[in-house]
């Protein structure tokens, strides 16, 4: 069974780059589903099984914090692991991270290794072999 990974970002370029970074993680077969804001993501999650959500914060219509807040209130999909990808380093937002109990954060600019570490951890997988590490040599995003 492939992992269903939902990528929520209003930038199609960032969605493409995230798909590339996740694919490079060698976690097995992955089915990518994309949404350009939190509202579309919620609609998708109400109709599809999602293993992990990657979400941006700063989006129109419904931002990442609103998405997480709505998800946490849902008994069925509320336990889906969420990884927030953000360039915002402000302490005010850290409070919002705490309020929403967001534990997994990747700050932009990021390296693919940080994505892989989180994915392996969330999926309960261990580092496979050295060849997987080699995939990332000299690679930034």
């Amino acid at each position: 069974m492939p992992y269903n990974i939902l990528i929520v970002d209003d930038s199609s370029s960032m969605r493409k780059v995230l798909k590339k970074a996740i694919t490079m993680c060698n976690i097995g077969q992955v089915e990518f589903i994309e949404a350009e804001n939190g509202k579309t993501a919620l609609d998708i999650m109400n109709n599809n099984w999602i293993d992990i959500v990657f979400t941006d914060i700063n989006m129109p219509v419904m931002d990442g914090f609103q998405l997480v807040s709505r998800l946490k209130k849902d008994n069925i999909i509320g336990n889906t692991p969420i990884i927030v990808i953000t360039s915002e380093l402000r302490t005010e937002q850290s409070e919002e991270f705490k309020i929403n109990n967001i534990k997994h954060i990747v700050y932009k600019p990021f390296r693919p290794e940080s994505i892989r570490e989180l994915l392996l951890n969330l999926l309960g997988m261990e580092e496979q072999d050295e060849s997987a590490d080699g995939e990332f040599e000299g690679v930034d995003f």
């Binding site: 930038s11 370029s13 590339k20 360039s87 915002e88 380093l89 402000r90 302490t91 005010e92």
Partner: protein, 139 residues
């Protein structure tokens, strides 16, 4: 302001290197350039603009997306992502008192509408072409 501009330049150099594979260079001999693409992030207290030549905008987009088949939409989408990352880091490190949220970036449709005299500016070079950083604080 000079220190802020220097910080913005350093941060831009770091982001463009880490996520867009562009390495800043020394100023080339060629002096005449046309800026074709512009993106902006602003609120009522600050404004950050990045202006790109055709060459730098395309290189940045191609590097980010990993393809040389790109559209104008791809370019603007990528340039908006770049300024979002730069501004997000810059606000968090240096302008915390001026903004509690990173505004949504937008495309500047007509570069002639920019009032250069209102901004502090720095030029950076990539592949012998410039990128212009512009910063205005309304305080």
């Amino acid at each position: 302001m000079n220190q802020l501009m220097e910080n913005l330049k350093e941060l831009t150099s770091d982001v463009l290197y880490k996520m867009f594979f562009l390495i800043e260079e020394a100023e080339p001999l060629k002096k005449n350039f046309d800026f074709k693409y512009g993106v902006c992030i602003e609120n009522d207290k600050f404004s950050i603009i990045l202006l790109y030549t055709d060459k730098v905008a395309k290189l940045l987009t191609e590097n980010f997306l990993g393809t040389d088949v790109i559209s104008d939409e791809d370019i603007y989408d990528t340039l908006k992502e770049a300024i979002n990352i730069i501004a997000g880091n810059f606000i968090g490190l240096h302008l915390k008192n001026l903004s509690d949220k990173v505004p949504v970036p937008y495309k500047i449709k007509d570069l002639k509408t920019i009032k250069n005299e209102d901004y502090n500016a720095k030029i950076m070079f990539f592949h012998e072409d410039p990128l212009k950083l512009m910063l205005k604080l309304n305080t």
